[in-house]
Symmetry: C2
Subunit: 438 residues, 2 copies
Amino acid sequence: MQPTRPTTRAPRVLARDLTAVRPGERATLAGWIHRRRVLASVTFLVLRDRSGLAQVVVKDRETVEQLAGLPEETVVEVTGSVSANESAPGGAELVEPVVTALTEPALAPPTELWRPTFGAGLPTHLDHAAVTLRHPRHRAAWQLASASMRGFRTALSTREFTEIATPKLVGTATESGANVFTVDYFGRTAYLAQSPQLYKQMLVGVFERVFEVGPVFRAEPHDTVRHLAQYTSLDAELGFIRDHRDVLAVLREAVAGMVEGIREHAPDAAALLGVELPQVPEEFPVIHFSDALAKVGADPDEPDLSPAHERALSEWAKAAYGSDFLAVEGYPMGKRPFYTHPQPGDERWSNSFDLLFRGLELTTGGQRLHRPSDYAAALERTGTDPSVLAGYLDAFAHGMPPHGGFAIGLERWVGRLTGAENIREVTLFPRDLHRLEP
Amino acid sequence: MQPTRPTTRAPRVLARDLTAVRPGERATLAGWIHRRRVLASVTFLVLRDRSGLAQVVVKDRETVEQLAGLPEETVVEVTGSVSANESAPGGAELVEPVVTALTEPALAPPTELWRPTFGAGLPTHLDHAAVTLRHPRHRAAWQLASASMRGFRTALSTREFTEIATPKLVGTATESGANVFTVDYFGRTAYLAQSPQLYKQMLVGVFERVFEVGPVFRAEPHDTVRHLAQYTSLDAELGFIRDHRDVLAVLREAVAGMVEGIREHAPDAAALLGVELPQVPEEFPVIHFSDALAKVGADPDEPDLSPAHERALSEWAKAAYGSDFLAVEGYPMGKRPFYTHPQPGDERWSNSFDLLFRGLELTTGGQRLHRPSDYAAALERTGTDPSVLAGYLDAFAHGMPPHGGFAIGLERWVGRLTGAENIREVTLFPRDLHRLEP
């Protein structure tokens, strides 16, 4: 009954490793036909695999004819002799190839994927993402995201943060109320979690330091270039802090880890996209919200910073500190959620911050309330029924340390690094008001 | 405007590091009052922090009285002199302490958390999870999960797998149809993804090798000890395989990575729970489904293995190979999803497998179809309208390599390691037919 396995072919060599094979030896590449260049006496076949591109030189008439029937994106295996050629990618190419198609001839993609610049608009890309994500520039953008997640986790794991996985289906939508998706949950109404906020706080009571990288959901009713209905949130929360400045210090380590992740695991992707990685200062420069308003010449009673203010403040931080990052602390309590810790001595302000990165808000974070009596007062002030938060308030009644945390939007981070005009450009399969496919 | 920060206290020392402080020096611990033992002439205060337990000896009458008002779970900071004591945890304790409460006196937990065995039933634990998860045995179970995720990612990242983040809101429920949650998506109906299956396949076309660790959703209408409405799926998919045996080889590396993750990052948790970590053999032993039926004396036309069969086969693998793992390959095509690759030469069977671990199915995986014509035939056979899968079928029309993958249920893995009778025991905040809180 044991089936026979397919015959073992020559072991596969990745495109980037072709130069490590001795010239004259046989090697097998496998990948997608990235491009065929048909000249009078020779056809160049450029093969793409996960490691990059490799050139195959086809002179034999039969193989040239075979290739005429194998359009770009067809998946093939190519066995041939390795030959040194300084003008080939990596300095080596394959000659006298035998080409075997591993699937049926591919349909032509909506735009030619071998062109250095993606030749179609965003709607075409999003409609055909399963194919157009293969374009090296789209691939590279996600490689920055993937390497950033890896760096984030490394930074926190090595600092004794425990990774958690929290419920995305929740019974109450109290955290912010608006913009929440409803789910039919066995005949009851459930909601999709807008953040792991309440759970990561409860779990500080268990593990002291926790992080989660996962999807969050916002029923964002506006069609903007910076909002998605689902995005990836890099969340952290830690106990036994003095105040939000201790949170900011950990945020600094997390961001430095993300930059280091890219430097270590996706340097080619960063180079291809021309990304200038930020220097992360030893400490983020900090300005108080009230000073920030004064600096941009805004009314001292403004409750928030406008996008123009954020850009101006970032420019100032760059000029004054040489920093791509600026933390604005002390946002007015009125604009912050109920669990926000006020600034000791002046309760108009909060112990919370936004981190601006190159003109855009990247992160919100801060110190949270931790005394049960403070929660009781905050819920009364905001008119929230404590019974809907019973499981959460349990944690505080039973002893919670001073704590705080932050959340970084992964797609927003990558969008800012690459200078994407629309966050959808750096998301694998974005979800928004209009888009639920593919 | 810059607020004054709280005075810096003596730097905090973790419980496990108390022995590293020279006896006679001052040190500050911070954590939860795990237990107070009041004797006639002395009160022992056992403090719990993320690193473990530390003992504080209180003789001073005023502090003894203060402690009488600080029940278990109250969060405190304790500064005192370090003293060597072989009978204290770690061999050192704190004497002549000054105790500062960091929050209000804690309410008594639903059961005493300092007792070595958790003293309440599962419903009490789940109702009060924010507090009862603090019990060292519950904490330890999740530490196994956390370390397993870390080991899984390390195993795959070092093998050039790219981490992905796929949509959890999808427009069609074609993958399995039943047991799917519906979401009100801006007035349309969306579904919660039951797995990242279709997306990870599409992304093999982009990155060749991908993995995702994330939530999946099953509207499981039965109340069983092994099903949850949300669980954490460890998913991988890779291209350029010969058949499902290449997938099984990667699964072996992933499982070995998870065991290594625990060994490296959660050895104390494993020891506390008495977990015997499995030896992962160089190759998982494999038996064909038809041979498996014969071995357990089942009817050769049985379409599936019963739980009793799975246990018997696991026992056989342990006896014959000394292995806690057994792969059963070749499951009948009729029981597998539409994208399953048949066994070459005998299409009654499939190139798919289940991995049994200590008597229970841990993983399902296998080779998938990759030719567009095979998909067209499979959809026609199963009566599926191809238009609802347009975005997915796009990938195959435009060239996909032979590929396959697998998914491991994190909670099931930890449940099997710890011998939990109910999977809810090893889930942070489980969701099921009846439970949406906390």
